[in-house]
Symmetry: C2
Subunit: 255 residues, 2 copies
Amino acid sequence: MPPREARRIFREGLATGTSGWARGYAQMNLLAVPEDWAYDVLLFAQRNRQPCPVLDVTDAGSAVSALAPEADLRTDLPLYRVWQDGMLVDEPTDVVRHWRGDLVTFLVGCSFTFEFALRQARVPLRHTEQGRNVPMYVTGRECRSAGRVHGPLVVSMRPIPEGMVETAVRVSGLMPDVHGAPVHVGSPADLGIADLDAPDFGDSVDAKHGDVPVFWACGVTLQAAVMASKPPFAVTHAPGHMFVTDTPDSAYRVG
Amino acid sequence: MPPREARRIFREGLATGTSGWARGYAQMNLLAVPEDWAYDVLLFAQRNRQPCPVLDVTDAGSAVSALAPEADLRTDLPLYRVWQDGMLVDEPTDVVRHWRGDLVTFLVGCSFTFEFALRQARVPLRHTEQGRNVPMYVTGRECRSAGRVHGPLVVSMRPIPEGMVETAVRVSGLMPDVHGAPVHVGSPADLGIADLDAPDFGDSVDAKHGDVPVFWACGVTLQAAVMASKPPFAVTHAPGHMFVTDTPDSAYRVG
């Protein structure tokens, strides 16, 4: 299915996770904030590039991104979250009535893109095999702050067969714009994660015998920063309900 | 020579190009602008990441970068340029008396870092062989603008033996934070460059028989944007007189 067709279906109201949709095209995290918060957000992203690789930023009030010029950022994602003072106040399928002329929208790389490369390298993805969303965890590591914006590092976790960890590290490492190599392999406790079976976002996933937990920086770090930093207003995608772009996943592989 | 020692010598007043100094450590382009211009500059860099890979941004007024925490950004480069309304007004060896409490400093990746990788791959560098600065050219390509900041793409050019162009593309492509793969191989006219012997910055360089001109995006693009966009005040490094960091060149290679 071409990205344009996927976006049309979401625009018409289907509220579904986007994993597996328009396969081969990059999907993005979305965060829109009032213009007077835009510098702090952009600087936070620059200072925390592994979780927050910014791949496009709109002009204030514009709902159009260079990553999919025909798309409307207010309607073409399947599910949004609306935030006031860091509190979730709505989870609508479009944000037309919430939109403001001063919103600057950030589009941020997503792990779905390196999963494309992991699949090509025949690295098994347990959450996909099990029909679940990837598990995500708030870690004990604080990001480098920027002005008013601060918050913890959020990671996604994939159980990987021990013999394939090196492949997974190498393959994702060639995609620095979509989180790059893992931030940690092995002990969840080293990241301050108490219980792998209780993710903060997404679903828990069953490891197979011989799997090792591998942790990648996650774009939901920006959503955690909204919760911690409490801008007066913000819009994000709902986790797993991403913006489908016209840019091929392969565009974000170097070398 | 360790980076700290190089910076000490520059701090004491030696105004020399930094090519070959503290070999193995990354050098950076520097641009400082008043805080009310910082968002436009950061957004311009995000929208033009190949010429302008931002690797650190200070808080307003701070002269300290995470890339070399002991260094003083006002004194530790060998030569600076001071700009008013887009015009060059001074070229001092330190900017202590020009410094302002509202300056935000951007540190941007430099091609010296991928030259380290080219040398390791035994790609000859003609400008180095000839003891010259790399030639840089203002192209006919306009960067994507951001608010008040706009300007042309500036490129650096290295003549490369035809049989080694593929190696040069591959090796630099693995360093996306320091301009990555070339933007063009071959015809200068395709970039709007009329005469390779008349660079806009740096020195002209003699190609050898069988060499092909290879063009990389260049951090001087930011300086050209200052000249075109005319912020009321700005400080940059003088071309070729970079900020020597404590970060190894190899930190910017992926894969």
